[in-house]
Symmetry: C2
Subunit: 325 residues, 2 copies
Amino acid sequence: MATINDIAKHAGVSAATVSRVINDSGYVSTETRKIVEKAIADLNYVPNRHAQNLRRGATRNFGILTSSLEEPVLARIEPFMQFANEANYTTTLFNTYNDPQREINALDRLKSKELDGIFLIYRTNEWSAIEPYTKFGPIVTLHNIERVDLNIKSVFIDHYEGYKLILEDLWQNGARSFINILGRSTGVNTKRRIKAYFDFCEEHKIKPHDIHPFLDITSRKGTLKAIELLDEMPTKPDAIITHSDQVASFIVSHFRKHDIEMPEEVAVVGFDNLIISDLMDFTSMDYSIKEQGRNACRLLLNELGAGPYELKPLQFTLSKRGTTK
Amino acid sequence: MATINDIAKHAGVSAATVSRVINDSGYVSTETRKIVEKAIADLNYVPNRHAQNLRRGATRNFGILTSSLEEPVLARIEPFMQFANEANYTTTLFNTYNDPQREINALDRLKSKELDGIFLIYRTNEWSAIEPYTKFGPIVTLHNIERVDLNIKSVFIDHYEGYKLILEDLWQNGARSFINILGRSTGVNTKRRIKAYFDFCEEHKIKPHDIHPFLDITSRKGTLKAIELLDEMPTKPDAIITHSDQVASFIVSHFRKHDIEMPEEVAVVGFDNLIISDLMDFTSMDYSIKEQGRNACRLLLNELGAGPYELKPLQFTLSKRGTTK
DNA sequence: TTGAAAGCGCTAACAG
DNA sequence: CTGTTAGCGCTTTCAA
């Protein structure tokens, strides 16, 4: 492998000059530049990135941390990556499988200079364990963080409004009883959705259902169990509202296989408006999930002084399809 | 940021000893080790990876190259990543968006020592442009490479057999006319599928359809255009066989929205057996796609002398669901 | 406009 | 069992 010194010798200049050509920094005469460029081409030279990184103390590499690689995660990763690439950053993906130690290992790479910043999609450690790492580089998350004292930026959108919109739309189309399939009970989004539901019930003077059995539903198994509960209920709800297209897809799939008619017997609504909701033809709440991924990257770039990139506002739009009236 | 020298000073030993503790190499007395470990904990030290990488000339990082980040790609990336992680490798994702230059840039990172190996899922450059990079590290692909002279390993599975299995199953269940929706005309998989179809036609003495209009169908738009062609045909086929679950999902979705009954009016078969085929309830050909991702990683690891890891054999199994008899 | 030289933080002979 | 030393390949003062 050719090194910078090989190029220097070949071109009859010093390594410093070659470096200047590579990085387009400092003064180099047009002639010298040409000679050096020819040498680089001749020897097929590519600078050793580790040496550059060691010298510079930066890598132009972002870490993406997640606990799984499912569709909703991917929907953010893709636009994030694209935006990062355009700003000349690469992305290294870390799947923690919900293992706190793996997450810490990945965060350590911020410390070891291997990562310039982190896009934390799902976390498994406590914020208090994560926050100290912001000393070594910016961390951006999707979580709606409640503690403002934390030095962690977020590109969240308050799900309260979106959830309310769904409920109101269902109500206007005749639905009077609802079941909410909710995600992680610790998440702020879940809390906001619950609040939206309770507020809605109060406004319309209806009695809210016991949300407890429908909390922490994320897996397919969990979803099917929740559906079983529904079967056991004396009166079926008019509508089921979920927290993700993934969970909605499990439900819609199950209902179709069991010839339960939507929306006649029951309406089903997803959240995220991913491709699957279009393919499976179910109603879903859109909130510019791709823009959210790009915003995460913009935030990171801004923190690193590469910006300023203006964040694009996110907004809710209900995409109505075959599972609602 | 604490460096190895800080630790050395703090512990009253040399940097070499600290290095030995970090890497668990050479001899270190239990006492010294303890002192050093305490110093590391005290100063919250994490070794600078660039320095390590520069020194070692390796990174324990694999590049994953793809031209898009859709479900079938993800289905391989996920198991690949997991396997790599377990072998203590990280993975950096490169999305080329079919831009040859981006692909070359990523390949250059093999040269610049930033990547120890590459999992090339989709390529955009000619093999002749890619092959020279194997000098700098192993490259593994999913493509069924025709040129054996290339130093590129592959974890392909010959689609001929799988395709034949689909056709025979449909035939046995009464289908007599078929339409094949085919992928990239340059791909070996496509050629093998066509061969399977032609052989099948000869065996059963039926006339093959003109495959031309159904070649290079990968996008949703392209798929819908292909469906339009079907509508214009005087007699409808008994079955549509696709090259991927993605394309199949477009078709199934379209037919359901237009109340075309499957399998009564027409049967539809996918390829890959991804979750979507289960959710949307369509028949699909399984060939251990996840194992294929793992095999790719095993191959890479073997090339780097980290093995030997035995490759798991892949096999075809037709997952029959609601869109076929 | 160019070159010499120092050093980023670490590892691996080698010597003791 | 431990320390000394050289150097991985690059960038960046500083001096010329």
